[in-house]
């Protein structure tokens, strides 16, 4: 077996001050892309710039930060010692700053505890604290909420939103699509190393659906109501029609009435990121599995 292209011909740009969601199924190349942007691994071809400078530039490393997926820290250290260590890598020795960062992530009461006694959520939070040591312009967060309980989820989400309010750019790789939908301004979806979709969430989730539920419509009559990509299903004597809002909703309603049916509800439904993600990954040309360079 020859080497595989984990990331292939990926072109994208992240705008300053936004929360950018970088999505893809397992093995899509998300972490590899982040590692390339951080200069931890090297691309075989192409070029990438972080804050306008070539990757690996140490001046850029002074103003960016990274929180890896499931971070592991030196367990013999306390939370405060960890910040002291990472701070020293920036030439910092500001004890008050370390304490205020731990307070910001709500760990001020646990700063003298060894990291081996920290829960997953606390480890993520101390990770976020270390990522703020250098007052970064750009944060790379790899699966920041993976494996956390709902409370920790909320805390991390609030912190990320706070980062944007402070004018920082946040690049998040995540599988938690509902979280991404709540906080991201733009997203990119990659699959097998190729970019499949990218854009503002509002734009990508356009093309909303309408769900019409009716009673007293025969199956034959209901089948005649299909338009475009709409689906018609039957449940407990009711007909459920799921259709794009761009189709003629009134014509379908008239059709139901013409078939002596009764309209139960007409509910506009916003498309969810999860639907877009599944659709993108399933229908992507790269999903056929034909390529393996």
């Amino acid at each position: 077996m020859g080497p595989a292209n984990v990331v292939d011909n990926l072109t994208m740009a992240v705008e300053e001050g936004e929360i950018f969601g970088f999505l893809g199924p397992n093995g899509a190349g998300k972490t590899t892309t982040i590692k390339m942007l951080l200069g931890i691994i090297y691309p075989t071809s192409g070029e990438a710039f972080v804050l306008g400078k070539e990757i690996g530039d140490m001046n850029v490393h002074r103003v960016i930060s990274y929180l890896p997926e499931r971070p592991y820290y030196y367990e013999h250290m306390t939370g405060l010692e960890l910040l002291k260590f990472y701070g020293s890598l920036f030439g910092l020795s500001d004890l008050e700053k370390y304490k205020s960062l731990l307070e910001k992530v709500n760990l001020h009461n646990d700063m003298h505890k060894p990291l081996s006694q920290y829960s997953k959520g606390m480890q993520q939070r101390v990770g976020l604290a270390q990522s703020l040591l250098n007052d970064p312009k750009l944060l790379f967060l790899d699966e920041p909420t993976a494996g956390l309980d709902p409370i920790a989820h909320t805390e991390i989400r609030d912190l990320i939103l706070q980062f944007r309010d402070e004018g920082r750019t946040v690049f998040i790789s995540s599988h938690e699509l509902s979280e991404v939908e709540r906080i991201c301004d733009r997203v990119a979806i990659i699959n097998r190393g190729k970019l499949e979709r990218m854009g503002r969430l509002d734009d990508l989730l356009k093309g909303a659906r309408v769900e019409i539920i009716a009673e007293g419509v025969t199956r034959e009559a209901a089948d005649k109501l299909k338009v475009g990509d709409s689906t018609v299903s039957h449940h407990d004597g009711r007909v459920i029609i799921d259709m794009s809002e761009t189709e003629d909703t009134n014509a379908v309603i008239d059709g139901i009435r013409g078939a002596n049916g009764k309209i139960v509800s007409v509910v506009p439904r916003r498309r969810r990121l999860e639907d877009l993600f599944v659709e993108t990954v399933r229908t992507a040309p790269s999903a056929t599995g034909a390529e393996s360079k």
């Binding site: 030196y74 013999h76 920036f90 270390q130």
Partner: protein, 262 residues
Amino acid sequence: MRVILSIAATSVGEAIRRRVLLVILLAGLLLLSILPGLSVLSARGEAANLVSTMYFVLQGTSVLIAIVLAVYMIPNEIERRTIYVILSKPVTRWQFLLGKYLGAVFAVGLMMGLMTIVALVLFWISQRPDAGRLAQLAQGPFMFFVQMCLLAAVTIFFSTFVSPLVNFFLSVGMYLMGTTLNSLYDSFVKNPDVNPLVRLAGQAVTTVLPNFSYYNVSNPLIHPEVEIQNPLTYYVNVTGYGVIYIMGLLIAGILIFDRREV
């Protein structure tokens, strides 16, 4: 420099908490502690025997500690992904590697220092030597320490491109060969009866491999009648040899590690 020292200090903190190293250290200390008792029981309860055995235990324990410690220093950072956060900071790979090396040296130094103190105290209790003799005996562990610095550099160098298991055997092999280089040199290079090609190969091997036997100066220390003509010059020369060799190994390691995907 601060970055390198921070990484080194963190590495020492990790190393002195590793159970396997503490077990080796404890075994070494235990052996050192029972040696004076065994020496009294031996037919020739000579101080020379005691010192010789203490040096042997100290050196053997130090070799194990140095190799086991250095073998896992970089692979552990990669496996636990701690290296990613460090390299995302303004830290270059050469700073990282140098910090890890210094961390290994400091940790080995700490453990060797502890063993040396225990050995000297026990020797003083059992033999009551004068201060001059004690100071002379402390030179042996110092040379072993330089030897361990060289061994740690060999191991760190290998760890930039081979797995820990392979590295362990390579490092042990290098050490064993390096401690017999003088004998090899005498047998092949100095011997006029040997085939010129074999002599040339012997010359190449003894030049390229690190000569660990330079640091085994225990004989003159154990037997004061055996003297090095100019001890100071000898110690400076072999320490200089070690430093140059260590620098060469670290530069080669940095060049490999710099392009390696972690």
